[in-house]
């Protein structure tokens, strides 16, 4: 089963900006993922598209060339995800982006899920009953 690594807004911001105080921290995590892929470990980094919107991550913009090259997949806000996210937002009152993270977590298969986040509390809330690992940055 694939180990899913989900990025939140601050993780994305930190990854993009070499001057961000948490840049090296998030780059370290990307390096570990790359090394594991090299050893044929099933691991995938994803960014919910609502998080991309919140972070201003335009894949066509030169400002985002480094994150674009790290094979971070979009997790789209499709019909099913939007329904789940809307339910989470209605119940908990978190942001649209965090609600989408919750939808990604809740719809994921039974493999390991890690969320790289600056807000561990909200991530545990949006995960609901799903068991997640929170990598706090």
């Amino acid at each position: 089963m694939t180990h899913l690594v989900v990025l939140d807004n601050e993780a994305v911001q930190a990854l993009r900006d070499p001057g961000h105080p948490k840049h090296r921290h998030v780059v370290s995590q990307a390096q570990v993922v790359a090394s594991r892929k090299r050893r044929a470990v099933a691991i995938q980094v994803v960014v919910p598209t609502a998080v991309r919107v919140e972070a201003g991550w335009d894949r066509t913009s030169p400002a985002w060339v480094f994150p674009n090259r790290l094979r971070i997949a979009d997790s789209p806000l499709d019909t099913a995800s939007a329904n789940t996210a809307a339910g989470i937002r209605d119940r908990i009152g978190v942001s649209v982006a965090d609600s989408h993270i919750g939808a990604v977590i809740q719809s994921a298969s039974d493999g390991q899920i890690t969320v790289v986040t600056s807000d561990p509390g909200d991530m545990r809330r949006v995960a609901g009953d799903k068991n997640i690992i929170v990598a706090a940055i």
């Binding site: 090296r24 780059v27 370290s28 995590q29 993922v33 892929k37 044929a40 099933a42 890690t114």
Partner: protein, 133 residues
């Protein structure tokens, strides 16, 4: 440019397929067939091969991007302690909350094993945390 082209091709998806003729060791082919048939690790030997090839190419692309980034921004290059902490965090390892202990273990292990991996550091830090018999 080559790396970017590989990345674009990886993004193109798997809808269009091609027959290909690759010579691979017979024993490896038979092992893959057996693993698929008896262990159900993939839907077919072709799917298994494709997944493994994709993962390897993704790793190559990622590492090239990271290496280029380290060249432009040397301060972003993680040391062994950083990587051990990151590995612990991604796995929810109990020592993830003790970065000081992991950094100390990284310094100790790197003295005698300069090629140590982050997982080696975690193992060493765990061993150091055990009470002496």
């Amino acid at each position: 440019m080559v790396v970017e082209r590989i990345s674009e091709l990886l993004d193109d998806g798997e809808h269009e397929t091609s027959n290909t003729s690759m010579r691979i060791p017979t024993a490896l082919r038979d092992a893959a067939t057996l693993a698929v048939k008896e262990l159900g690790i993939a839907s077919s030997a072709t799917a298994l091969t494709t997944t493994a090839l994709r993962a390897t190419l993704e790793a190559v692309v990622m590492q090239a991007a990271l290496d280029d980034h380290y060249e432009r921004h040397p301060q972003a290059r993680p040391d062994l302690g950083d990587l051990a902490i990151a590995a612990a965090e991604l796995d929810g390892h109990p020592l993830a909350g003790q970065p000081g202990r992991l950094r100390q273990a990284a310094v100790e292990i790197a003295t005698n094993h300069p090629d140590a991996s982050p997982d080696d550091v975690l193992l060493w830090a765990e061993a150091r945390a055990l009470p002496a018999a």
